[in-house]
């Protein structure tokens, strides 16, 4: 049977690996390439690499500018070839992906899948096009959400803009447009270590028949098994715990196995 996946998330900002809390504070934790090599030799099942640098083009370029931007100084894509050379598990790359050219660049540089977020929300046709061009298997749509009185609301632009759209409706549309997976992240739980938002994950699982990856809030090894046992989520992802605890993957998977969840040994 299919195993539940355990996935570290590396946050890349301006040439460094960072940790984040509630999508706002970021502090340096290590060398980008070294961490990928270390983690891909562990028993983790995939890697997700998110570029949360401020986009170069946000700072400088006008869309009508004749000056062509060449390399971006804090561009994750430029280190991807070196990163992917040592990575024999699937590598998903996300952050600052705005169009099919951005996707193409990342796939050519070594990514196996890409994760698209705000650009997909602002123009859902992007999902349809990307899936048709590159295959659904390559396209993960990331959804960031917060808890409101009405339920779970989708937020975009790295947590800055509320959309008024509810999680269930957006997940529905993502699926209809041909994406391969949905990555659901709780902004409220990000970096807190208090556990996954199982209600949010449950909502996502109910509103789509695509595989769902949960992210946001994992702090103890038992948080992973709790999320899976309560929601049957396809994969559990986390950032900080993998950077700050040695052999986290083994402890997490042992907990999951002990609670009856099938994981890759």
């Amino acid at each position: 049977m299919l195993k539940t996946r355990v996935i570290p998330v590396l946050l890349y900002k301006d040439n460094q690996l960072v940790r984040s809390e509630n999508f706002s504070s970021h502090s340096y934790i290590g060398d980008a390439l070294h961490e990928v090599i270390r983690l891909s030799q562990w028993g983790v099942d995939e890697l997700i690499y998110l570029d949360i640098s401020s986009s170069y083009s946000d700072c400088f370029a006008r869309s009508d500018s004749k000056h062509k931007l060449t390399s971006e100084p804090s561009d994750l894509v430029s280190i991807l070839p070196a990163v992917s050379k040592h990575c024999f598990i699937p590598l998903t790359v996300g952050g600052n992906i705005r169009n099919v050219d951005d996707i193409q660049r990342r796939l050519m540089a070594g990514a196996d899948k890409v994760s698209i977020n705000s650009a997909a929300f602002k123009n859902p046709d992007f999902i349809t096009r990307a899936s048709a061009l590159f295959g659904s298997q390559c396209i993960v749509v990331a959804v960031d959400a917060i808890v409101t009185d009405c339920g779970f609301e989708v937020v975009i632009d790295k947590g800055k803009t509320k959309t008024g759209t509810m999680l269930a409706d957006w997940c529905n549309e993502i699926e209809s447009r041909g994406a391969g997976e949905i990555l659901i992240q709780s902004i409220d739980r990000d970096g807190t270590g208090i556990g996954y938002d199982v209600n949010m994950i449950e909502r996502a699982m109910q509103s789509t028949s695509l595989p769902v990856i949960a992210l946001g809030g994992a702090g103890k090894y038992s948080d992973f098994s709790e999320a899976v046992n309560q929601t049957d989520v396809s994969a559990v992802a986390a950032a900080n715990i993998f950077h700050f605890k040695e052999m986290a993957d083994r402890h997490i998977k042992r907990e999951m196995l002990n609670s009856g969840i099938l994981v890759r040994a």
């Binding site: 699937p90 659904s136 390559c138 595989p211 890759r264």
Partner: protein, 207 residues
């Protein structure tokens, strides 16, 4: 060690396959040139995307003839994911199209109630009462490999089946006929066992 030719249909990340082969010490040529493919003794056909797309690309590039020609010249061929599916006679994804016809069978959507695509690590069991396929040398039965697909091959001939997988229903994980092999999973993304498999493919004698 001989050079392995990786066929580039422009439909997938051939870099992952190339990285894995380089890591194992093989020289790799990534190409869509008909002559290079037709004359190569060892070919890998990767692929991601729909069967119809893949079949059209093979035809447009003349690679359907080239791969068949290579097969007739006793080349070793390994199809990965969509590449494996394209070895079949036909497929229904994206509209009915013809495959390479190297393995007797058709490709249809997975018959399962579970979530699709089938994404993640799942175990491959070797069929009983048959000799283990040489690609699995050194890999125990029921080892996990990485899958990401919604379609799978069905074979008319059970002797072509070299690996089975369970996803709320059994489907064919790998096939072989003569020197043509196909795996539904991604060995280049399946860490230790995947690298072992690629090494086994590389070591198959071309005599």
């Amino acid at each position: 060690m001989e050079t392995i030719v990786v066929v580039d249909l422009g439909l997938s990340n051939v870099k992952s396959v190339k990285n894995a082969l380089h890591h194992l010490g093989y020289a790799v040529v990534v190409t869509n040139n008909q002559n290079t493919v037709a004359s190569s003794p060892k070919i890998i056909l990767p692929g991601v995307g729909s069967f119809a797309q893949g079949a059209a690309r093979l035809k447009d590039l003349g690679l359907d003839k080239a791969i068949n020609s290579a097969a007739n010249s006793s080349a070793h061929i390994l199809g990965i994911c969509l590449g494996m599916q394209l070895l079949a006679s036909s497929g229904s994804e994206g509209g009915k199209s013809e495959g390479l016809g190297l393995i007797d069978g058709s490709v249809d959507q997975l018959n399962t109630q579970a979530r699709l695509p089938h994404v993640g690590w799942n175990s491959v069991e070797y069929p009983r009462n048959t000799q283990v396929c040489p690609l699995y040398n050194g890999i125990p039965s029921n080892s996990d490999f990485y899958f990401t697909h919604s379609f799978a091959i069905t074979c008319s001939l059970s002797q072509c089946i070299t690996g089975l997988c369970d996803y709320n229903g059994t489907f064919i994980a790998s096939v072989a006929k003569g020197r043509t092999y196909g795996v539904q999973f991604h060995p280049e993304k399946s860490q230790k066992h995947g690298l072992t498999m690629l090494k086994n493919f590389g070591e198959l004698s071309t005599c």
